[in-house]
Point group: C2
Chain length 159, copies 2
């Protein structure tokens, strides 16, 4: 169990670092101001999440190491495709939100598993840290849904 | 928007078909009876979800087509790695649950986006079908969490 926990930690560590770079790019490309701010804020939050992961590695006497995560690379590649192909601003923002929510849900599943496993391995402190990040990811996902809805309503009023 | 909706539909269509094969394998490998049943039941449910996607393609006058989805392939590859490397039954089942929950969350994010976009495109009937699947995916995820917890409690009692 120890070994599998460590592998999953390495997977998420890789994913968070890849997302740091992706969120930078997405914040620059987004056209809606609220969405830009959401990406910039979440980028900053992600830095804290990377630090928490490093603390969890330490709590289990492991060196922080990143293991390539194909799932997050696939999700990020989709975001890149949206940025290349979107025919207008609304479609661009909607596509960026979709890609970001796929990333959030990937992380929600991973942190849910990691928090449960940390508790199972008897490390309540690590479980608490992982649950803190889990709550942040859920909030980030909910905020993106809100932004998507308010953008749609704005477009409907303008039409 | 139409075009992006269709691309995302093709992505999820690919993902569901890949999961049909993966769930078969996972049901065979799982050792916990409840988990086996959950995988077998969800495989059957997934067949219905594939049919719903085909109906949605039709509602938008599109041919059902699958577009390779690297995210789901990454998640499925992780499940395969678990099956190869797990050192005992409990670790195997826990790893399979983790991989399946990553897949569920991928789908939850995709169906959430698709349902919102279908509504935005004025197709309430398609939105309803997509929301039905969304609710099934959420339930499947919750059931996996329950099975994980009850397995941990059983192990704790046996220890």
């Amino acid at each position: 169990m120890d070994q599998m926990f460590n592998l999953l930690l390495q997977d998420v560590y890789y994913a968070e670092k890849a997302l740091l770079r992706a969120l930078n790019k997405m914040a620059k490309q987004a056209t809606d101001e609220k969405l830009q701010k959401a990406f910039t804020d979440h980028r900053q939050e992600t830095e804290g999440q990377v630090e928490r992961l490093e603390q969890v590695f330490e709590m289990f006497d492991k060196k922080p190491r990143a293991k390539k995560c194909d799932a997050i690379l696939g999700i990020i590649a989709e975001g890149d495709e949206v940025m290349e192909k979107a025919e207008d601003e609304n479609v661009l923002d909607a596509g960026l939100i979709a890609a970001a929510q796929a990333a959030e849900h990937y992380e929600i599943s991973r942190y849910g598993t990691l928090a449960a496993w940390a508790a199972q391995l008897g490390n309540a402190q690590a479980a608490r840290l992982l649950n803190e990040t889990l709550e942040e990811e859920k909030k980030a996902d909910a905020l993106l849904s809100e932004i998507a809805e308010s953008a749609v309503n704005r477009q409907a009023r303008a039409a």
